[in-house]
């Protein structure tokens, strides 16, 4: 049985003017467990707190009820008071008789009566309170960044500069991501490679950064501060330590049938290849599906020609196990495939290209060395039509419902660059809306129109077809002119919708980090915690959280790094003790609680159970207290009541309900 003290606060006249505080104290004295009750002008004042402290000592109190303002105001204060007087801080409950009572009622009798009932509920709860202790867990001072694009690189550099170890895992043979494929960047038109490659080099050379390229995260276990991650380093069949990157092997490879991924398949590459000149690491990789040696056992020219004996056909995938305190997701994006948009003729006509392909066609390091030409006949196009929103803002299920955000700007960029380099080329842009909310963005778009004479047409293309004579006919509507027009073009560029990278979904499951229906990672709070995932210790950087351009991505990358640094700077993590607890004697191991847990805090373990009559091994739920945030979703999903929430137990809430429902004067 508890020994409870009740302390009724006047809050000056805030409470006392409408609530008869003396009567409340008097009435609550007769509640079960209550051995002491008092009222005071300002309970939160030093004197008030001392009153509580001495009562705890004098009456050997085990539980405290303070009838005062909202617990959101002073719960922490009174917990500290209790703690200083030697009882567990979680033995304190607050009855909110100010915000919920004195401030909203005028009639003294009514307010007093309500205050008594609220006090009773708090007393009933405290009777069932148990001491709780905050958990503590150590923090591994190392971060993992998944994805080696601009987002991942920036996050890793920022964390590394702060003095913490960072590993980058990149699934492709090189870091750099999508940005490495771009030609110029809006709105300043500086060359992407010029600003990105120095960062790639910096990441590779940083003493605190380890790169795992051509690698994937295989398994994630653990929780904030203590993640256990298994990384698969795929065999590239070239020894990274021996290879000097001379490129001898790539030039000797007799197979030329591979499609150059970096150039969006617009040209070919050998079976052993370095994705692009500035790749990091500058080490080739063998495409085993294409390699003659792997297919037939014969060839091996690359191995024979390698001056440093780095080619190793017997290489196997390697597994690396590492511990991390924090994980940053920076998996980036891709563009959708266009089989649902054949009205634009992407698969029928070679000269209908995506914007990313166009990016490569414009790029000095691209398949045409920067000379803009049509893929079909390598002629320079004289009329180009750009189509925006191809698959974006589509609610039919064919594309993506969201706005891809970056297309308006890069299309303006493409149009502008085309007109600058080839002033005799006519450029049309079909748009639904031109969205340019960014610094210098609208100015940029207007420049394309006013200075470069790009024809912007408000309307959408209905069909692209060929006239049988090498031209593409683009039929669309010009809504402002109220007409349907057909443009005879040489090339059509489609701003295909963006999508989350395919690896994201699998990773989301591994990390138990929640995602939206579009496979973008969800942030912990859309406004106030935009770079954190709801899963503690998992942070978000770049496009993986939603469409973003480069400046935004870099900003978010830095923000994510700051959050990681804040976490790694701590030696221990304290956790909220009001978390779920599974009773292994009752748990049936049905997994229902696991399914509703938003944080992945529940796992299952084969546990020896002994309830006095039965001894056996059973699959039972285990709550990771460092991960659980205490929402209680699991407690309702659990039919047997094995899952309960500390600080808000079933019994406690029942007791509150019962106390409120008791007849007056009972």
């Amino acid at each position: 049985m508890q020994r409870i003290g009740v302390f009724v606060c006047w809050c000056g006249s805030n409470i006392a003017a409408t609530v008869d505080v003396k009567k409340v104290a008097e009435e609550l004295k007769s509640e079960p467990g209550v051995v002491y009750s008092a009222d005071y002008q300002y309970m939160c004042s030093e004197n008030g707190q001392n009153l509580i402290k001495s009562a705890i000592k004098d009456y050997s109190l085990t539980g405290i009820v303070v009838c005062s303002c909202s617990p959101r105001m002073h719960e922490a204060t009174f917990r500290k008071t209790a703690s200083e007087a030697g009882i567990n801080p979680y033995m304190v409950e607050i009855a909110n008789i100010r915000e919920q009572c004195s401030w909203i009622h005028k009639d003294m009798a009514t307010a007093t009566q309500k205050a008594i009932i609220l006090g009773r509920a708090a007393v009933a709860k405290v009777n069932l309170n148990t001491p709780l202790t905050e958990g503590e867990s150590p923090v591994v001072k190392r971060a993992l960044v998944i994805g080696g694009g601009i987002a991942g690189i920036q996050t890793a550099l920022d964390i590394a500069d702060a003095g913490y170890k960072v590993d980058i895992v990149e699934k492709k043979p090189t870091i750099g991501g999508k940005m490495a494929q771009l030609d110029k960047t809006f709105p300043t038109l500086d060359c992407a490679a010029c600003i990105l490659t120095p960062k790639m080099v910096e990441a590779a050379q940083h003493e605190n950064i380890t790169l795992y390229t051509y690698s994937e995260v295989e398994e994630v276990k653990g929780y904030v501060g203590n993640f256990d991650v298994k990384i698969r380093k795929k065999a590239r069949y070239v020894n990274e330590n021996l290879c000097t990157g001379c490129g001898e092997c790539t030039s000797k490879c007799p197979s030329r049938k591979g499609l150059n991924e970096f150039n969006m398949g617009l040209d070919g590459r050998g079976a052993i290849y370095i994705p692009f000149a500035q790749a990091i690491p500058n080490v080739p990789v063998i495409d085993t599906a294409q390699c003659i040696k792997f297919k037939t056992g014969k060839c091996g020219l690359c191995q024979m020609n390698c001056p440093s004996k780095a080619v190793d056909f017997s290489q196997k995938d390697e597994f690396i196990d590492e511990k991390y305190g924090a994980i940053v997701v920076a998996t980036g994006f891709d563009i959708i495939t266009l089989e649902n948009y054949e009205e634009y003729g992407y698969s029928m006509y070679k000269d209908v290209v995506t914007s990313l392909e166009f990016e490569r066609l414009m790029n000095a390091a691209g398949p045409s060395k920067g000379h803009l030409e049509r893929p079909s006949d390598h002629k320079q196009p004289k009329t180009i039509v750009f189509v925006q929103c191809v698959g974006s803002r589509d609610t039919t299920g064919c594309g993506k419902e969201y706005c891809s955000k970056i297309c308006c700007m890069y299309t303006a960029k493409h149009a502008m660059l085309t007109r600058e380099k080839y002033p005799d080329t006519e450029v049309y842009v079909f748009y639904i809306d031109v969205r340019t909310p960014g610094k210098n963005f609208d100015e940029f778009y207007r420049r394309a129109v006013e200075q470069y004479g790009v024809h912007y047409i408000k309307g959408m293309v209905g069909k692209v077809y060929d006239d049988g004579q090498g031209h593409l006919m683009v039929r669309g509507s010009d809504l402002l002119a109220n007409e349907q027009l057909t443009i005879k073009a040489d090339m059509v560029v489609l701003a295909a919708a963006t999508k989350a990278d395919e690896s994201a979904r699998k990773l989301g499951t591994m990390l138990t980090a929640s995602m939206d229906t579009n496979d973008f990672f969800t942030e912990a709070h859309p406004k106030l915690r935009p770079v954190e995932s709801p899963t503690a210790g998992v942070f978000l950087s770049g496009f993986c959280q939603g469409p973003k351009d480069i400046p935004e991505t870099v900003a978010q990358a830095g923000a994510a790094a700051a959050k990681v640094i804040g976490l790694l700077a701590k030696n221990k993590l304290k956790s909220n003790p009001c978390v779920a607890r599974a009773d292994s004697l009752i748990c049936s191991g049905c997994s229902n609680c696991e399914k509703v847990c938003p944080f992945g805090a529940i796992t299952y373990a084969e546990t020896d159970v002994n309830d006095g009559t039965v001894r056996e091994k059973r699959r039972v739920a285990v709550v990771n207290e460092a991960v659980c945030k205490g929402c209680g979703a699991c407690t309702v999903a659990c039919p047997s009541g094995a899952m309960d929430l500390k600080g808000f137990t079933n019994k406690q809430i029942f007791a509150e309900v019962d106390a409120i429902c008791r007849q007056t004067g009972e």
Binding site: D583, S588, C590, G641, N650, F654
Partner: protein, 323 residues
Amino acid sequence: MQMIAEKIKEKIKELTENGKISRVMGWKKGLYGYDSEPFVFENGDLRDFTYDAFSGANLCKYMIAQSKNDGDGKILVLLKPCDTWGFELLDKEHRIKRENIYALGIPCGGMVDIEKIKKSGVKGITEISEKEDTLILKTMYGEKEVNKKDYLLDKCLVCSSKEYKDCDELFMTDLCGDTAEYDRFEEVEKLEKLSSSEKFEFWRSQLEKCIRCNACRNVCPACSCVKCVFDNDNSGVAAKANANDFEENLFHIIRAFHVCGRCVDCGECSRVCPQNIPLHLLNRKYIKDIKELYGDEDEAALLTFTTEDKEPSVVYERGKNNV
């Protein structure tokens, strides 16, 4: 049916001899031919084995206890189509050790409710045998033939699927009878259309009959908790913890909620109820609601959500049509 039973026996022998199974969960003959009951046959002794029109009992739940020990070898369990749904649920919820079980799907042509026969005025039954769709009732007053179809269990009247889930092997299952044509939600719809006070009177009169024998709970494949919340002293609702009659009063509402989204509509709760309370109508209401509100989803309805789910106020709106 006798033919099928014999074939099943042969199959069991074959599986036993091949060392695939060590025991069999089946039905054992009773005294009168209409009281077969679940039984574990061991050591290849199948003397009293039967599979007849009264083998309505779902055996899947016995698998919780029977599959526990790894050392016992595999147990064969015989499952009718509707039995397999509960079996699958138990597997999904990790309540059974699937690797210790050999699930054999067997054909079902509908099971008979002996109470219905008795109610029709047939007294003193001493033996029942089957011939295709005819039941031959030997009574103390002579022999009588009835059509099996007229005395089917309620759950068989709304038989909705002959699909077998999660079985290791299907045996003669093409001999299954047809599914029923009755719409299983018809009864629920009827109740929904009653006025609020009529509904209340209906349920009060039904639930008043409950003697808290727990038969429904014991048979239900979704009610497989190691310890039921109503037996848990710490839950705040268990009988012992409270002097009041809370658990008594709301047992069925809570039970229905606990199996909501997980109930496989096997109809066993109503079949075993000694007081004939139509408990399945509670569960089926949830099934109907889930279908209407959330459509078909892979996950149990209460363990998932969509951001576009209907608001709870939909209940008021839907209720507007009937007063």
